[in-house]
Amino acid sequence: MASTRPSTRSRPRPLPEPWRFEAIGTAWTVDTSEDVSAEQRAGVADLVREIDRTWSRFREDGGVARLRAGETVDLGPGAAELLDLYDELHDATDGAVNPLVGGGLEVLGYDAAYTLTRHGDPVAAPAWSTARRVGTTLQVPVGAVLDVGAAGKGWLVDRVATQLVEAGHAPTVDAGGDIAHHGTAPIRVAMEHPGDPTLAVGVVDLQPGLALCGSAVNRRAWGEGLHHVLDARTGRPTRGVVASWVVARTAAVADGAATALFFVPPARLAALDVEAAWIDDEGLHTTPDFPGEVFS
């Protein structure tokens, strides 16, 4: 099925080439039935630039740096939705997911200079209850480092997809395997094996209007026992679950829930209305209504 040539009658003309670009360090693919105009592309680029400026833990001029210095910062449109989700993830995981985990990541070497060298003992994140938030405005204790790695990428996928929907498209937005599907027909998505990227452990049937995100500790690891999924309560990398996939109404929820599954079983995430698959030391598991097949 490499050819996308349409049957002559059902489609009057071929679908446009997917729009591909690199942003926030990952490869994006946007599938649409109509070309995305230059103006619309520039609009997406502006959105991504603005969000990176506000939320990146590695910018000295950004919102995260100002928060760290003790300022009260308005994190802009959409921030309330993301921070509300973090409230839910925090409660569902008894504090294992906490957006103030940034300092703990720095200690383990996931820092602005990307030393990837551990330079201290693991540190617990400041309690999320120490943050004060009104709407999109946040204040955290001086020195606390905001890190939205658990759900931020999915949230950005939603923001990009929403902007394209508002421009009249029915897009499927894929940022390195985190996918918001606003197209008109289901798509099939392979679930990448955490030990071998040429293998799939299953296939998801992703219906229009749903999102799929995956998380795995395999690729973002930089040393013995060191990777990016930290338990905020201890500052130590989680053990046990090595990969997870979640289907949800939004990519933000799917992304955040995929991270939460490293700490709690899916029953704890019932309020988020998700279907999930995950791999732990006993093998591959799915929730009863997971929309797809797994090869076990």
Partner: protein, 154 residues
């Protein structure tokens, strides 16, 4: 010994590429450029050969570093590979950057150990349009390979 000096030279130019990449990501202007990268379903190590078919390369072992940003932070990987004169890549190692003697691939020791128990099917054999997992290193990997091939062009 020639391999050693070659590796060193490329490691240095790799570092320059890291800075450029980081700057580009920070500015966000890269979002407007078309990428020739394939979708994640065929992100394999052979990707980088496309436009350079007429070029010949200095045979040898090379390494370079690629770096890129995510909402969670900057990622960095070291890529080591062996290049044939026609540009064919014969051996590749990708190492997440780690401290001195501790750069052993964590993937093998932890994720691989558990995940080996899980059944897999070749993605190429499946009728799928996308892949979901943790394919975040592709940006850094492709940048490192491009850097090596540019430097190695004879």
């Amino acid at each position: 010994m020639t391999h050693l000096s070659r590796s060193k030279k490329l490691a240095m130019s790799g570092a320059a590429a890291v800075l450029m990449l980081t700057a580009a990501c920070g500015g966000g202007s890269d979002t407007e450029s078309e990428s020739t990268d394939s979708s994640s379903s065929d992100e394999t190590t052979e990707d980088a050969s496309s436009t350079e078919t007429a070029t010949t390369y200095t045979v040898g072992d090379y390494s370079a570093e690629g770096s890129y940003q995510t909402p969670g932070g900057t990622q960095s990987v070291e890529v080591e590979l062996s290049l044939e004169a026609d540009g064919t890549i014969t051996a590749v190692t990708v190492t997440p950057q780690a401290d001195g003697g501790n750069s052993e691939q964590f993937q093998t020791k932890f994720a691989g150990g558990i995940a080996d128990e899980v059944v897999g099917t070749k993605i190429d054999d499946l009728d799928v349009s996308k892949v979901s997992g943790s394919s975040l290193t592709s940006g850094g990997f492709n940048a490192a390979v491009d850097e090596i091939k540019a430097e190695a062009a004879a």
